[in-house]
Symmetry: C2
Subunit: 421 residues, 2 copies
């Protein structure tokens, strides 16, 4: 894409953008603040305010306990089915429950249990550290071998050959982040899944940084298991409950290792015997947090209306635009591109490195009202949420970023870092 | 308490009630409906509507990702400290996280891990079945012996001698519901805890049906571990996240078996090594669901203002009044008292049994606009939430219940049961 440094170029791109109207579906309190952290916490959809009013006034306030039968009991499945449409998965293969960490724990233990004699889990260094800790927890409890973490050759790309070499007949599960939280590197889902299957292992994807930003095809790729956040590109609200996917044919063969009443077949019989729900619902555990759960649905509806094909097309245009501006303006100011250059291996965020990254990040937020986020050691991470990010946002953010460095505004900020989410 | 069948008696009791004003703190959409299911889902506090508006508009909508640092990261601890005041526990011993089931799993596994060589967990038949399933899950994964479930002599009372006999030097953990979900039987916390300690076991209480309805003294009783719901007497909202308690001196000796980033010491370093938070925060796992979490606080504040001593006094008066009306009016209509008669062993709900219980429950809801709940096989469970339940509510509910049977209104409802929470 030929990139112009002129603001008029961004304005023209926004005028031609068929998705531009969706920006008004989201609350924008301070138009001068540029928000490029939708990959950490998505914006508040206006419809979610209405939905919360309904849940409070009409359901909790008025229907009280009866709202469970009216609507709430069904919500984990109903919203799961909508998320399934974003994953290229059948509606009965996804459910909303717990946090990503707890879901990952449940599925990892279930996978180890389903592959007796195969005591290994393989992951890679690009995976989210919390996933790595949870996988290690699962192995410890289930009596597996220590977690195998395949190191990367650099901080940007996975070592696909190294991962392939680590998978063997002792591997029960391969667990990877589809889009890496730091560099935005995107694994080849079909290829890695086939590699796992060839060795007799199950394949699990953490889709937190992919879902809602690009089309996915879990069923077609033969993926076994997946988990992911709903509070990033799905705009489900802070800490909104996570989803989990289990391939249809596997569901009744896998056991939920934390057997709570919401995964039980007839919970209101209050029987001492535990009979799991048939299908995906067996992976529920406790009572779901309804306010946070209900808030997920409007954001998912918006993505389904906008269409993932169009969203991905815009996302690629926008990250290419950002990288073009980096080449033209930021590289000479000492910034490095810490994300893959080719769009087919890149998610919807771009990490720019700088030796003074942490101080620049602070100046950008405090002096310039641009909100990216920061990832150790030097990555300023710019998240593009194509449903509401404009080309003008990206242009203006880059101009302000250049000003920080040109005017040495970052030099008044501390070098020591104490980050937030 | 001498009981009069006259409605004037209830009105007089309400006039004298020092807590009567708190009823207006809660949303009441339909004044003709009598809600006696606050032990399943507490009413919506008016202040929670304001709080949700603040979280949506000012925090998520305006501050976006910055709200984590402003407020949200601290919320599990801050609200935990307030709940601690309801438990007779030090502020640093309680945190809000996950569901009751997941918290129970984490603490049960941690207890087994802390008592190597002691492979047993003892519980009793009055415990909530989901707790029993979760405890069995923990034992399976941690390689313990099958769960020991001490049977009761009847459906109302625990077999304290039987439990005492089951606890021995092989017991790692004794785990009981403090107030039984069906009969409302209340265990002697100090006595049972001492029994567990005498054998070298840890003691865990599920406080779901106690917290907010009576004063508790966890620290004084030397309790080791506890979990509980926030959506019953705490009025925290449907499926609101649960709390967990770990005695101060034990915290750093116990390990969270599901190690997610919120229990990590410096989560934003994104290190591959896991170093747990010091203290109670190590028992967090994933990102907490903030909308549901924030909604807990106003209900807890109301209970702290009202005072647990006064709430318990009113609760006892109200359950005594209900039992008095049962003796005077309902017993002759075929109802049995399925709760302990003596108030010191009874929580804040009263179960009335009837051979046609399920059909009567349906008629009471549909024809009479009284909302209790139903527990297998024949219990109609009337929950008194002293912060908003009036004596007039109880009088009118009993009158309507008597009318259902006298007018045989239940006979048009099906005998087969399909219950909802």
């Amino acid at each position: 894409m030929p990139v112009s440094l002129d603001a008029g170029f961004a304005q023209e791109m926004d005028r031609r953008d068929p998705l531009a109207g969706y920006r008004d579906e989201f609350v924008t309190r301070d138009p001068d603040t540029i928000y490029l952290d939708g990959n950490s916490l998505g914006r508040l959809p206006r419809r979610s305010i209405e939905r919360m009013r309904h849940v409070l006034d009409r359901q909790w306030g008025e229907r009280l306990i009866r709202a469970w039968g009216d609507d709430w009991l069904d919500a984990p499945r109903r919203i799961g089915a909508k998320i399934a449409a974003l994953l290229g998965a059948s509606p009965e293969s996804v459910i909303v429950a717990d946090s990503t960490s707890v879901n990952l724990f449940k599925l990892a233990v279930a996978a180890l249990d389903a592959r007796p004699g195969q005591k290994r889990i393989v992951t890679d260094e690009l995976n989210f550290p919390s996933d790595i800790h949870v996988l290690a927890s699962a192995l410890e409890l289930a009596g597996g071998d220590p977690l195998e973490i395949v190191r990367s050759r650099d901080a940007i790309r996975a070592d696909v050959d190294g991962i392939a070499a680590a998978i063997d007949e002792r591997t029960a599960l391969v667990a990877l982040s589809h889009t890496a939280f730091k560099s935005g590197y995107v694994h080849d889902m079909a290829r890695m899944t086939a590699l796992a299957h060839r060795a007799g292992a199950l394949m699990l994807w953490d889709l937190s940084h992919s879902v809602g930003a690009m089309p996915l095809a879990l069923d077609a790729a033969g993926v076994d298991l997946a988990v992911g956040c709903t509070y990033k590109y799905l705009n489900g609200g802070p800490g909104a409950p996570a989803f989990l996917y289990v391939r249809r044919e596997l569901q009744d063969a896998l056991a939920n290792p934390i057997r709570g009443w919401f995964g039980q077949c007839a919970p209101f019989d209050f029987a001492l015997e535990y009979v799991p729900e048939p299908g995906i619902a067996r992976f529920l555990t406790g009572t779901p947090p309804i306010l946070s759960l209900a808030a997920i649905e409007p954001g998912v509806d918006l993505l389904l209306e906008a269409g993932l094909g169009r969203l991905r097309e815009k996302s690629v245009q926008q990250t290419e635009y950002l990288i073009g501006l980096w080449e033209a303006l930021l590289q000479s100011l000492g910034f490095s591109l810490n994300s893959p250059r080719e769009s087919e291996r890149r998610g919807s965020h771009v990490s720019l490195g700088h030796p003074d990254g942490w101080r620049i990040d602070q100046a950008l937020i405090a002096d310039m009202r641009v909100l990216p986020d920061f990832r150790h050691p030097d990555n300023i991470r710019f998240g593009v949420a194509p449903i509401y990010t404009s080309f003008a946002d990206i242009h203006e953010a880059v101009m302000r970023l250049a000003r920080v460095v040109e005017e040495r505004r970052h030099e008044k900020y501390p070098r020591a870092r104490k980050g937030v989410t």
